[in-house]
C-alpha cells in the first residue's frame, strides 16, 4: 500500500512544537493565544454545551445585532429631524415623550451597536488565534478588516446625529483628524466655528450616510461569507432570546440618554463617553496624541492587520504530525465524471463547481476546482462515490486499500480488533500513537488512521473498515461547531435527499461505531474510552457486510 500511495505516511514525525497543549495546528507565533482561546472555548463548552456555545456563533450573533440596529434605526428615522436646530430636540422627544417604546428602541439601537463591537472583537481574536485567516480564508479576513472601519464610522455618525455635547466633542475631533489630510483647502473645522457656520445640509448628509452605510455593510458581509458554503447567520433560538432580553433589560435599567445640547460657542467640559466607539478621542486628548500621529499609527496598524494572512507564517509542516492521508491539491478524473454534484455539495468553501454538459456529450459534466479556494480538506474525495476525486494520489479506492493493509497479519504484531479514525486537529496527540502511527501507543489492538478531518469519512470508508476486519470503529472528532473546515459532521446533511443523508456518519452510529467529539485537553479520558470500546466490541462477531444496509452497521 505504502509503495503505491505517495500520500500515506511512511514514518512518524516528531510532535509539533509550540502547540502541544491543545494540538490545534497553528503557527508557533499564535500558539499562546490559541492555548488561551481553546481554554476559554472549553470553559464555555462546560457552561453552554458545545452545541450552544456562543463562541461558535459569533458571526451569527453579529448578524443578530445588525438586524436589531437596522430595525430600531428604521423606527428612529421616522422621528429624526435632519437639521442642526431640530436634531437634538427630536431625539429628546423619542427618549422622553415615548419613554416606553421609542426610548427602549433608541436604547436597544445604541446598546446593540456597542454589543456588535464586543462580538466583532472576540470574533477577530478567535479567527486570528485559531489560524482561520490565511490561505483560502484571506478574502474573509480582508473583507472583515474592511468592515471594521465601516462599522466604526456607522456608530460614530450615529453619535454625531444626536448633536449633544459628546457629539460636539466628536465633531471637533473628527474635523481635526480630517484636516490633517491634504484633501480640503478650507478646513473642515470651520464648519463648526459658530452655530451659523453649520451647513443645514450637513445633518441631512450625515443622516443619509448613516442610512446608506448598512447597505454597504451588507455588501461587505456578503463578500465576507462568499467563499463559505452555508454560513451560520442565525444563532440558536435560546441564545437569540437571551441576547434580546438582555438588551431590553439594559434599556429599561439604563435608558440611553443624550448629553447637554451642543453649543459651538462653549467648550465641552465633562461628558459621558461611549468607549466602544469614541473612546479613542479622549485617549488621544489625554495622551496628547496629535491627529497626524494617530493617522500614521492607525494606517500602519491597518496595513499590518490586512496583510496578516501573508505575514504570519504557516505551521512548520516538518514539525506537524501529518495525517495518514496527506493534504495535497485535489485532482478530478473528469473523463468519467457523472456530474452528480456530490463533491460540490461536500465542499465547505465552494471551491468545487460541477458543470453539467448537454445530453449527448461524451461525459455528463466536469468538476472544476479553484485552487485558491481549496482547503484540501478531502471532503470531496470521499463524497465522490465513483472514486474519481483524489488528493495527492489518494482516492476512495486507495483509502480502502490502506485500511485493509492495517488489518493484514504482521509478524510480531497482534492483529487489530478495532480501528480509530482520529481528526488531526482534535486533541493533543503527543504520545498517542505507536512509532509507525498505525496503532495506539496504549493499545496495540486498536489500529489508527490520522485524518485531516472526520468530514472525509463516509459510509463507504466505514463499511470498508468492517470489511477489512474491524469489529468496531471509533471516530475522534473535534468540537463539531469548531471544525477547522467548518462542515465536518453536517456536510452530507446539506442534501435534501434522504438517501444521501443516510451517509451522515452520525446516522450510522451503533454499538460498534462511535463518534466522539473531544476536548483538546482530555487525551487520557479519550484513551480510556477507546480502550473500553475496544473491549466491548472484542467479543462481538465480525460484522457481516453482506447483511449491511445503507445507513446501518
Amino acid at each position: 500500500m505504502e509503495s503505491e500511495n505517495s500520500g500515506v505516511k511512511k514514518e512518524a514525525k516528531a510532535a509539533p512544537r509550540g502547540y502541544k497543549k491543545s494540538n490545534k495546528q497553528v503557527p508557533a507565533i499564535l500558539a499562546p493565544g490559541n492555548y488561551l482561546l481553546v481554554r476559554i472555548q472549553e470553559a464555555f463548552n462546560l457552561i453552554f454545551t458545545p452545541a450552544m456555545n456562543p463562541l461558535y456563533y459569533l458571526g451569527a450573533i453579529t448578524f443578530l445585532f445588525f438586524w436589531v440596529i437596522l430595525g430600531s434605526g428604521a423606527y428612529l428615522y421616522l422621528f429624526y429631524n435632519m437639521s442642526p436646530d431640530g436634531a437634538y430636540e427630536s431625539i429628546r422627544y423619542i427618549s422622553e415623550d415615548q419613554k416606553y417604546y421609542g426610548g427602549i428602541i433608541r436604547s436597544m439601537h445604541r446598546y446593540a451597536s456597542d454589543g456588535i463591537v464586543i462580538v466583532i472583537l472576540i470574533h477577530v481574536f478567535q479567527v486570528f488565534f485559531s489560524d482561520r485567516f490565511r490561505q483560502y480564508r484571506w478574502v474573509a479576513w480582508v473583507s472583515g478588516a474592511a468592515i471594521l472601519p465601516v462599522i466604526w464610522f456607522e456608530g460614530a455618525s450615529g453619535y454625531f446625529l444626536v448633536w449633544d455635547k459628546p457629539a460636539q466633542a466628536l465633531a471637533m475631533a473628527l474635523s481635526d483628524m480630517m484636516d490633517v489630510l491634504p484633501l480640503n483647502a478650507d478646513p473642515v473645522q470651520r464648519n463648526f466655528l459658530t452655530p451659523d457656520h453649520i451647513n443645514a445640509l450637513l445633518f441631512f448628509v450625515m443622516s443619509y450616510l448613516h442610512l446608506a452605510i448598512p447597505l454597504l455593510l451588507l455588501i461587505l458581509a456578503w463578500v465576507h461569507c462568499m467563499r463559505i458554503s452555508m454560513p451560520l447567520i442565525h444563532p440558536p433560538k435560546s441564545v437569540t432570546i437571551v441576547i434580546l432580553s438582555s438588551l431590553v433589560a439594559l434599556a429599561l435599567i439604563k435608558p440611553a440618554a443624550s448629553g447637554e445640547p451642543a453649543n459651538l460657542m462653549e467648550l465641552v467640559g465633562s461628558t459621558q463617553v461611549d468607549w466602544f466607539f469614541v473612546g479613542m478621542f479622549p485617549l488621544m486628548h489625554l495622551l496628547d496624541i496629535t491627529p497626524l500621529t494617530a493617522w500614521i499609527a492607525g494606517s500602519l496598524f491597518a496595513t499590518v492587520f490586512v496583510a496578516l494572512p501573508w505575514i504570519v507564517p504557516g505551521p512548520n509542516k516538518s514539525e506537524v504530525e501529518r495525517p495518514a492521508f496527506e493534504q495535497a491539491p485535489i485532482e478530478v478524473d473528469n473523463d468519467k465524471c457523472k456530474a452528480c454534484v456530490l463533491c460540490q455539495q461536500a465542499c465547505p468553501f465552494e471551491a468545487m463547481v460541477v458543470e453539467k454538459f448537454p445530453e449527448g456529450s461524451p461525459t455528463a459534466g466536469r468538476a472544476v476546482v479553484s485552487p485558491e479556494k481549496c482547503s484540501e480538506c478531502g471532503f470531496c474525495v470521499n463524497a465522490c462515490e465513483f472514486g474519481l476525486v483524489s488528493m495527492g494520489g489518494v482516492n476512495k479506492i486507495t483509502m480502502q486499500t490502506y485500511i485493509e493493509s492495517l488489518f493484514q497479519p504482521q509478524k510480531g504484531r497482534v492483529t487489530p480488533t478495532s480501528l480509530a479514525f482520529v481528526c488531526e486537529r482534535s486533541f493533543n496527540q503527543e504520545g498517542f500513537y505507536s512509532g509507525d502511527r498505525k496503532r495506539l501507543a496504549s493499545n496495540e489492538e486498536v489500529a489508527s488512521v490520522v485524518i485531516p478531518c472526520v468530514g472525509i469519512l463516509s459510509q463507504t470508508i466505514i463499511d470498508a473498515s468492517f470489511k477489512a476486519g474491524a469489529k468496531g470503529v471509533f471516530v475522534v472528532d473535534c468540537r463539531p461547531l469548531d471544525c477547522h473546515y467548518r462542515e465536518a459532521r453536517r456536510r452530507l446533511k446539506l442534501s435534501d435527499d434522504p438517501e444521501r443523508q443516510k451517509f451522515h456518519i452520525e446516522n450510522m452510529e451503533g454499538d460498534n461505531l462511535k463518534v466522539l467529539s473531544v476536548s483538546p485537553f482530555e487525551t487520557e479520558a479519550l484513551v480510556k474510552k477507546i480502550n473500553e470500546f475496544n473491549e466491548a466490541v472484542k467479543g462481538a462477531k465480525k460484522v457481516d457486510e453482506s447483511n449491511m444496509k445503507d445507513g446501518e452497521v
Partner: protein, 184 residues
C-alpha cells in the same frame, strides 16, 4: 437553528457582556476642558495680493480685450498679473505674549487660492487683550496691519476672531453670539 435550551449558567454568562455595555457605554466620563478654561479661535479666509501685478501697458492691453472677455473677467485688474499670490504673515499676541507667528501659504497647487486659517488658543477665563497682526502685501517691507481688542471670557466660553472682507477688518464673535469689530 438548534432547538436546545440554555441552562442558568449559560444565561448568566451570555448576559455578562451587558454589564460591560452598562458601564463602558457612558463611563468613565472624560473632562476635555477644565471649568476655568476658555478658548479663542482665530479662523478666517482671505485673498492675498498677487505676487506680481501687470504694468500700465499690460493693463492697457488687458482693457482692450475687455469686449471679448466673459463677464466675470471684466472686473478691474482681474486676470492681470501673475497667478500666484503672496503668503499671509500673521502674528497673534495675547496679553503681550506671542502665541502664533507664522506664514500661511495660499491654497492651490499654484498658490493661487485663498488663505485659510484655523488656530485654536486655549486660555484661562478672565480679561484678556488680543492683538492680531497680518501682512499680505507683495512688498516685503510693508507694515503689518494690527487689530487689537480686549475681551472678558467666562469659563468654557469660546470667542472667534474672523475676517470681514468688506471692511478689511477683523471682528470678534463672543460666546453670546455678539459681534465686535476689532480696533485698528
Amino acid at each position: 437553528m438548534s432547538s436546545s435550551k440554555l441552562n442558568l449558567g449559560g444565561i448568566v454568562t451570555l448576559m455578562a457582556p451587558i454589564v460591560l455595555i452598562f458601564f463602558l457605554s457612558t463611563s468613565p466620563g472624560y473632562t476635555y476642558h477644565q471649568p476655568d478654561e476658555s478658548m479663542i479661535i482665530v479662523s478666517f479666509k482671505k485673498t492675498t495680493e498677487r505676487r506680481t501685478l501687470c504694468d500700465d501697458s499690460q493693463m492697457e492691453d488687458f482693457r482692450s480685450t475687455e469686449d471679448t472677455q466673459r463677464s466675470h473677467m471684466r472686473k478691474k485688474g482681474r486676470n492681470c498679473g501673475s497667478r500666484d499670490r503672496v503668503s499671509l504673515e500673521m502674528i497673534i499676541n495675547m496679553d503681550g505674549d506671542e502665541r502664533f507667528n507664522g506664514l500661511i501659504q495660499p491654497s492651490g497647487l499654484n498658490s493661487d487660492g485663498v488663505v485659510f486659517i484655523y488656530e485654536r488658543f486655549s486660555i484661562k477665563a478672565g480679561d484678556h487683550t488680543i492683538e492680531v497682526k497680518v501682512r499680505d502685501n507683495k512688498d516685503p517691507n510693508a507694515e503689518f496691519k494690527t487689530f487689537k481688542e480686549s475681551i472678558s471670557l467666562k469659563g468654557h466660553e469660546i470667542a472667534v476672531i474672523d475676517y470681514d472682507k468688506g471692511k478689511d477688518s477683523f471682528f470678534l464673535i463672543t460666546g453670546d453670539s455678539t459681534f465686535r469689530t476689532m480696533a485698528k
